[in-house]
């Protein structure tokens, strides 16, 4: 075998620099067939060709082909064939589009010697057919009739910021829950944390997900594709995916022999952050396939800044190492992936208050009490986090197109939180001990059998097992040790015929959770058992190549999380005493939604409305009791349950004014109620508008594919809050402008770059879902530079 691949892999493992992945070209077309058409006379030329899926090579039926400037339109027949006749010997442009695929524009000079073969790249979700026979092993399960948004690598290169959340914030229906500038969690239709599952290259990411100030432990540079599934998705991903799923994927393995790579460098002015990443990939051997990829990233950021002051102690660092190798042998595919994430995060110094009086004083002051000069130093309080994942996957493709896949994964998440120093620990060995030190180890096993199309049905059956253990040390108690087991069985079937497509699935889960606590050196344990069923039914109808209607009903459930059951301690950031409730029942969600989508030559539009009923919705409520300690008097917050109804809609519009000028707008609306008490639900994201204009500059000399984007966001004030629970009223509405200028290529190198400004006008604002809005403003203007150098 090729020893080079392995040795390079080992060698670069020792690199401590970074990078990013190259991005995948989305559309490709090739001229293949020899043409029969040879022009004989004036106005008797023609253009003909086949349009097919770039991966499956199956013909795309009813794809739209527009010939410019004539504006002649034809649609492909059942073989994916199209033809324009009686054309003049001149230049034409041809636009090819198909719903669910990336459209392309070709420049043609007649006469053509060949007919065309045009491959369209899928936006991942095929309308007509489901791909099963590809190396992309997850195609079937990826595909469902729920509301998906996919952000591809090209868009990610522009959006990529300092956290995963930054890349999602312009997606309709998705907002962020921020704990300062370095920690942000995605919120899908008002739900977050344990109500969302994050899949990291197929592995369900398991950190201490329950914590609102615990961000996902994922290297933003390692994300080549980002997908959001909105709404209850408990079927494929197990309990907890009651609000949705975020799928993060690395770049696909290289398929052509050789070694390639990309170096990426990002700079951000707001916190003077430098981030870089080195990505390498290779493919070796001829008959079999040995592919690998390796990436290492490092970022270092100083204190973030608001328009008025520095957010002291918000500096952070992050380093990452990701490696993966794939080996194909006949019908077998083996994959191993490992990644290590390490981050040190400063927590806004002033967000640490000791009691309610301190909190009220800080709120009354309107700005942080501690404001120091900008620094890269990370003081206390801070979080030190490491996350290790390794996963092994085996896929066996039967000759009859059935497929078996098996995977194991292991994750070890360690979270250490350090409180500020006080006279109680200043002079003792307690000083350097974390206040909380939680180690969460998760093992997962998945087995999945996909069957080929039989009587119009394709589908899969699967089994999954997860085992989790939490070990808590540190100076204070917040959540206990526990061991949990989860067994899941599921079946999903899909059917399609002509314009109709349907999907149904069912999943049953069995869980146990055992808590272990130390009481006067006696170990006490108790077990909780949960079991429940999740299901989904969806149907879509394609009216023609432009209009599609999808309806979906799904249910999912979520067992109460460890903090909701057993938390018992002070929550320093908000000066509350949290008390779990071991009698909580699982949450059960019933979501109904309808999506109407239109894809035209110039105008695209989609509209989704949903109605999500969550029974036994768990939330924190101040009780009438107080906890007295030497730190002061704290209101005790209990976890209680109610029935919640989250209703809303999202709509996206985009319009191509000219071939090089387009505008887009999205609106996110959510109306969330506690229907048992007939009150608004607290901490739900405010409604917002995102819009943008993009201008492709085609005629610059030395750079290609240049573009200018202006983005605008308007966030309404959240007027719907219950009275008397929050410490302060919701902040005012705000609007932000961003500007990006980018180019994909200089003439000689393949380098691409972009520069831009976020919050151009340095607007002072506070977001309702910013957990630090009690203490400080959100961040101000941020100028960034992003550079990718492939080699």
């Amino acid at each position: 075998m090729d020893a080079n691949g392995i040795s390079s892999l080992v060698f670069f493992t020792f690199f401590i620099l970074i990078n990013l992945k190259a991005f995948v070209a989305l559309c490709l077309f090739t001229l293949v067939f020899a043409s029969k058409s040879i022009a004989q006379q004036h106005n008797n030329y023609n253009i003909s060709g086949f349009i097919m899926d770039s991966v499956t090579k199956k013909p795309l039926v009813n794809a739209k082909v527009v010939l410019l400037p004539l504006k002649n339109i034809v649609y492909t027949n059942d073989s994916g064939f199209f033809q324009f006749n009686n054309l003049a010997k001149t230049n034409y442009k041809m636009e090819v589009s198909y719903l669910g695929y990336h459209p392309i524009v070709l420049s043609l000079v007649l006469p053509l010697k060949t007919s065309l073969r045009i491959d369209l790249a899928s936006e991942e979700h095929h309308l007509h057919d489901v791909i099963i026979n590809t190396d992309k092993n997850n195609k079937l399960s990826d595909y469902n009739l729920q509301n998906h948004v996919t952000i591809d690598s090209k868009k990610l290169d522009i959006l990529r910021g300092q956290t995963l959340g930054d890349m999602l914030k312009n997606t309709a229906g998705v907002t962020l829950l921020n704990s300062g500038p370095s920690i942000s969690k995605p919120v899908i239709r008002g739900l977050h944390s344990n109500r969302i599952v994050t899949l990291n290259n197929g592995v369900k990411q398991e950190g201490q997900n329950w914590g609102a100030d615990h961000g996902p432990e994922i290297d933003p540079f390692a994300i080549n594709k980002l997908e959001v599934i909105k709404g209850a998705s408990g079927l494929q991903y197990g309990p907890e995916a009651i609000g949705g799923v975020i799928k993060v994927s690395a770049k696909d393995f290289k398929t052509q022999n050789g070694i390639a790579g990309v170096y990426s460098l990002n700079g951000f002015s707001n916190n003077w952050q430098l981030a870089n990443s080195l990505f390498l990939e290779g493919n070796h051997l001829k008959k079999q396939n040995l592919s690998w990829r390796l990436q290492t990233s490092y970022r270092k950021a100083g204190d973030s800044q608001t328009p008025e002051y520095v957010l002291s102690n918000t500096a952070f660092t992050e380093s990452d190492l990701n490696a993966a190798v794939q080996y194909q042998l006949k019908q077998n595919t083996f994959e191993y992936m490992a990644s290590y994430f390490q981050s040190s995060l400063g927590i806004l110094r002033s967000a640490h208050v000791h009691n309610r009086t301190d909190l009220e004083n800080t709120i009354a002051r309107g700005k942080p009490s501690v404001i120091n000069d900008f620094t890269y130093e990370i003081g206390r309080p801070r979080q030190d986090i490491t996350h290790f994942i390794q996963a092994f996957k085996w896929i066996y493709s039967f000759k009859n197109a059935n497929k078996l896949s098996v995977d194991f994964s292991q994750q070890i998440n360690n979270r250490q939180e350090f409180d500020v120093l006080s006279f109680l620990n200043a002079n003792s060995n307690l000083k350097d001990q974390p206040t909380y030190n939680l180690t969460l180890t998760t093992n997962q096993f998945n087995l999945k059998l996909e069957h080929k199309k039989v009587f119009g049905f394709k589908g899969l059956v699967g089994f999954s097992y997860a085992n989790q253990g939490n070990y808590a040390t540190g100076k204070q108690f917040f959540i206990p040790n526990f061991i949990s087991n989860n067994y899941g069985f599921y079946v999903i079937e899909k059917w399609n015929k002509k314009h109709w497509q349907a999907e149904a699935g069912l999943r049953y889960d069995l869980m146990d959770l055992t808590r272990y606590i130390n009481q006067n050196n006696q170990v006490l344990s108790n077990v909780l058992n949960f079991n429940n069923t999740a299901g989904t039914v969806g149907v879509s109808y394609l009216f023609n190549t432009k209009w599609k209607l999808t309806a979906n009903l799904s249910s999912a459930w979520r067992p109460p999380s460890i903090n909701e059951l057993y938390a018992n301690g002070l929550h320093a950031a908000v000066a509350t005493f949290e008390q779990g409730n071991a009698n909580l029942k699982p949450e059960q969600s019933y979501n109904a939604e309808v999506t109407l989508k239109y894809v035209g030559a110039k105008f695209d539009f989609d509209f989704t409305a949903y109605n999500n009923l969550i029974n036994n919705f768990i939330y924190r409520l101040p009780s009438n009791t107080f906890n007295t300690s030497f730190r002061g008097v704290f209101p005790v917050f209990n976890y209680v349950q109610t029935n919640a109804l989250l209703q809303g809609f999202e709509t996206n519009l985009s319009y191509k004014i000219r071939t090089n000028l387009s505008i887009n707008a999205a609106y996110t609306f959510l109306y969330a109620n506690d229907i048992s008490k007939n009150l608004p639900l607290i901490f739900m994201p405010a409604n917002r508008i995102n819009s943008g204009i993009e201008w492709q500059l085609t005629k610059l000399k030395k750079v290609k594919n240049t573009f200018v984007q202006i983005n605008y966001q308007y966030v309404f004030k959240q007027n719907r809050v219950p009275e008397g629970i929050d410490f302060t009223a919701p902040p005012a509405s705000y609007q932000l402008f961003d500007l990006v200028f980018g180019a994909s290529q200089f003439t000689k190198t393949k380098m691409n770059w972009s520069v831009g400004v976020q919050n151009i006008f340095n607007t002072s604002y506070r977001d309702y879902l910013s957990r630090y809005r009690y203490y400080a403003l959100d961040t101000g203007r941020n100028i960034f530079i992003k550079l990718n150098i492939p080699f």
């Binding site: 080996y327 070890i412 006279f423 109680l424 180890t441 070990y471 100076k475 108690f477 030497f630």
Partner: protein, 194 residues
């Protein structure tokens, strides 16, 4: 053969798990960084016998945050008297008992006690801090202070109120004569003037 080695090593790497600490053996995590007891001792400065009026009142929470409520003595004082007082802070969960107020003395440049009587005691009960730090100019610390009670000619006895004691920590901010936003201690004693 090589193929098998590759596959075998991948499988091995995947299933080899480093055994972490066992969740079935929980350690005690609670209350390693607490104070249990605030002790207020004092005597009547103007009493020639000096020992006659000595007192000691305590605020004590032996099981730390949560659990049982603290046990709090009522500070009973005579009216029209000047008391010299000291505050002593202990952690009785340690053996031997840890006198944590020594640390406050060591960090006096970044700490300050505030003694605030309830509104009905204003004018009848006041405090005066006696010890100062090494800042320039010197600022009060408050480990030692006087309590002055006004004579009872203008009000009725007994008078019930409370005394709020806050220890402000100035970390990352300049120490001033105002409270900081970080209260290391914030407790209340009932007060009875007789």
């Amino acid at each position: 053969m090589k193929n098998k080695i590759i596959i075998a090593s991948m499988v091995l790497a995947a299933i080899s798990s480093c055994k972490k600490d066992d969740p079935k053996n929980p350690v005690k995590t609670n209350s390693q960084e607490v104070l249990t007891t605030v002790l207020l001792t004092g005597y009547n400065i103007d009493d020639s016998l000096n020992a006659k009026y000595q007192f000691s009142y305590k605020w004590e929470d032996l099981d730390g945050d949560g659990g049982n409520s603290p046990i709090i003595d009522t500070i009973a004082l005579d009216s029209g008297i000047r008391y010299n007082c000291k505050v002593l802070i202990l952690d009785k969960t340690k053996s031997p008992i840890d006198t944590v107020s020594v640390e406050i003395e060591n960090e006096k440049n970044a700490h300050q006690f505030f003694y605030t009587p309830s509104s009905n005691l204003v004018g009848k009960f006041s405090t005066e801090i006696l010890d100062f730090d090494d800042n320039n100019p010197k600022l009060p610390v408050g480990l030692e202070f006087n309590i002055l009670t006004k004579s009872n000619q203008t009000y009725n006895l007994p008078l019930i109120g409370s005394l709020n004691i806050v220890l402000s920590h100035y970390d990352g901010v300049q120490k001033t004569t105002s409270k900081s936003d970080e209260s290391d201690i914030d407790i209340n004693f009932p007060v009875r003037l007789k």
